[in-house]
């Protein structure tokens, strides 16, 4: 009747979550050895190529960090929303809006110094991402419309907006390519290390995650957010405004996803393109889940998936296997982790002391929140 979306897990040793992820990785390798064998490669060699080889050279190591950068943002964005019990599947669209704003502001700042241009771009991107997240959040708290559907459906809308811009007003006047004009030099993220693509976005991502961790773990607002995520009814009963918490979580999530777009535009592409994101917003859901919605976990999961992404492309060249096998491994890993989490939940909880059917039916989580929006 009521979907146990985030039933809490009780009385676990602090080691069980890392152990669970390690077990999930082992099972994933076992399961994916089949397709790898089919592709004509030795699974052991392939895994070494996927996971270990990228860490053995300076160039690939830095590329791992580059690949991890956008999903640090989107992973954190998704984790923030999910912790509040707000199922934001729209990080992809919010990222694209953030990228669009960054490209617009970045091209408009002209000769302004970086100290002005970069904050302006970050602010515009966060605002754009948050604004794309606003409508589903309002629909959810006002009318009880499921945000999973609305946030998801806004993703293709955002992509159409981007392609519309690129084929219309923002089309490159010189080449005629559907690409926006290059942003000003002062608006580009500086490289962190010479002769590499690693840029300021990586550090900003870590800072954002540190702030998110602090707010969620240490402030009253963060405790309220966790309370709403764990038990909306109990939170409302204690006088917490569930609507306001959900809206704030949705906006924060959208803002962080928007920053992912800023980071890609200012750090990598230096302009808006329709292929800017190969699904970073969706990968953010994988990152957040693998990281068990905890901020340190998000960092580890983003680094691991970055590693896998780089490994999959080098394996394609060195072993001649399809680079899509990286995506296969990622997908199987997600399913394994989700399955193990569900298994653990089933074992570690006792039957919940919930009311009879009537009481539960009126306690539907996605029902409109019966309180005025503050």
């Amino acid at each position: 009747m009521r979907l146990p979306r985030t039933s809490p897990r009780y009385r676990l040793s602090p080691w069980s979550t890392p152990a669970l992820v390690v077990i999930a990785v082992a099972i994933t390798f076992l399961v994916t050895s089949g397709p790898i064998l089919l592709a004509g490669a030795n699974p052991i060699a392939a895994y070494a190529e996927f996971v270990v080889i990228p860490l053995t050279s300076r160039f690939t190591l830095l590329e791992v960090l580059v690949s991890a950068t956008p999903i640090l943002f989107t992973g954190a964005a998704v984790a923030i929303a999910f912790r509040a019990g707000y199922w934001n599947i729209g990080a992809e669209g919010q990222l694209l809006l953030g990228a669009t704003a960054a490209a617009g502001v970045g091209a408009a700042v002209g000769d302004l110094p970086a100290i002005v241009a970069l904050p302006a771009m970050l602010a515009a991107g966060a605002l754009a991402g948050a604004s794309w997240a606003l409508l589903p959040a309002l629909l959810r708290v006002r009318f009880g419309i499921d945000e999973v559907v609305t946030t998801l459906l806004l993703n293709p809308v955002a992509l159409l907006l981007v392609t519309g811009l690129l084929h219309g007003p923002w089309r490159d006047p010189v080449t005629g390519f559907p690409e926006s004009p290059r942003i000003a030099a002062s608006a580009e993220f500086p490289a962190l290390i010479d002769r590499s693509r690693l840029h300021l976005g990586f550090v900003i991502g870590l800072i954002v995650i540190a702030i998110a961790w602090y707010v969620i773990a240490r402030t009253p607002a963060g405790l309220r957010l966790r309370a709403v995520g764990l038990s909306p009814h109990g939170a409302r009963f204690a006088g917490i405004s569930v609507s306001r918490t959900l809206i704030v979580a949705a906006l924060a999530s959208g803002a962080v996803a928007g920053l992912a777009g800023v980071s890609e535009v200012a750090g990598i592409q230096h302009r808006l393109t329709s292929g800017l994101s190969p699904g970073y917003g969706y990968t953010g859901i994988v990152v957040a889940t693998l990281g068990t919605l905890a901020m340190p976990g998000v960092i580890l999961a983003a680094l691991f998936l970055g590693d896998l992404a780089v490994g999959a492309s080098t394996a394609a060249r060195s072993l001649g296997i399809p680079s899509q096998l990286g995506a296969v491994v990622q997908g199987v890993l997600l399913l394994t982790v989700v399955a193990l989490l569900a298994l653990r939940r089933g074992r570690s909880t006792r039957p919940a002391d919930t009311g009879p059917a009537g009481a539960e039916a009126t306690d539907d989580e996605s029902a409109p929140v019966e309180e005025p929006v503050a």
């Binding site: 009747m1 009385r11 009963f237 919930t354 059917a357 009537g358 009481a359 039916a361």
Partner: protein, 506 residues
Amino acid sequence: MAGVPGSALALELRGITKRFGDLVANRSVDFDVVGGEVHALLGENGAGKTTVMRIAYGLTHADSGAILVGGRHVPIRSPRDAIAAGIGMVTQHFSLVGPMTVAENLALGRSTGLRLDLAAARRRAAQAAERFGIRVDPDARVADLSVGEQQRVEILKALARDCRVLILDEPTAVLVPGEIEVLFATLRSLVGEGMSVVFISHKLAEVRAISTRVSVLRHGQMVGTVAGATDERELARMMVGRPMFGVERSAASEVPGEAAPVLRIVDLRLDGPHGRPSLEDVSLDVRGGEILGVAGVSGNGQTELVAALSGMRRPVAGSVSVDGVDLTGADPRRMTAARVGRIPEDRHACLIPGLSVAYNLVMERLDDFRRGGRIDERAIQANADELIARFHIRASPDDPVATLSGGNIQKVLLARVLSRDPRVLVVSQPTRGLDVGATEYVRSQLLARRADGAAVLLVSEDLDELLALADRLIVLYEGRVVGEMAAGDADREQLGMLMAGRGRNP
């Protein structure tokens, strides 16, 4: 210890042992039930009653022991095996699909093919009504039914699967006097047809009223099996290992009769399902130092009354005020700020089970526990240490509330509310599901608040509780106040008539 003469052993458990980690839930428990009897399983909360019956129904697996059905060993690995062996169980938490109708739920429990045979389900419901007096509207939506009616649907489901042994886990915990009588009548007609009923309970009077035999569990061990008519004191001694005593209000209650009421409700009206109001023209006053008891069969507006006073439901008409300050339609935050303490019946849902005891204790007033921009963890911990000691909560501050027993969860809610020195206490079913010790503790705390001058509104389905604690009683029937009396003048028969809607008109 022998079975009822002339009856076949229907279900027999031999040497059932079950451990959960360090806890031994059942230690070598023997139990049997024969055809045509109600065999009660009596014990305090945590005595292992539910566990041993969950094992019999395949919901839990024993570490050792055997299950025999009709004298033959039967491996029961899952409820499917149990159902095939003719065992049915109605657990405390119903497994009904709320948005579906009764007939659909019955068909779901039975259908094996692709077709949902609603006509057969409806026929079975009609037959059951005729044979056993189990009356439920087959076309009603389950979520709209009262808890008592939902329980009837669960029993119908078990009967529809041709069960011969029906296990009922604390079936009366969710019922009120009127419904309990209906249930007992049903059980009598079931055993009259040769069925066996296992009746799990911790209520002495009910066990004596319905049982052929009574088996008593204490700390996971079988204390003994006695005849159903055994003296209450003897049963209580077996159950708790000590004689029980009751908590009652002092007879000399010096209620300030002329004092202005603290809590005043005027013509309150709340909408309900089917366009029928769930509360209509409810007016009542509660003075300081007074406990007003609200009696009634469940589903007659009590839940809505408590929800309105908790700030969880907005009335469509009427007013609520505390000490003259209007609180009509106030949200939970304003209610608590006005020193209204709230302890509803669904206590689990009113806490945040995934968070720690310490956090739950301060959840209503997080702003008092901040230093700068951050949570003052030290103050929260100190507050928890103090309340845990003061309210005898058996938990440590960092334990998630979900890991606590029902009695300790109730104490957490009680501590959260009482630590704020409430002017008004709104309490519903405060001792439901609690064991004897916790029940006495909760009742004594309510009386202590009354002595301190708080206005207490006590909703309970336990008439003994109301008569023991309340100064005055009102009776709710179909959302209206149909009677009011001083507790000293109340007699059970009159109360029963009012609760059944056969009293004088308001």
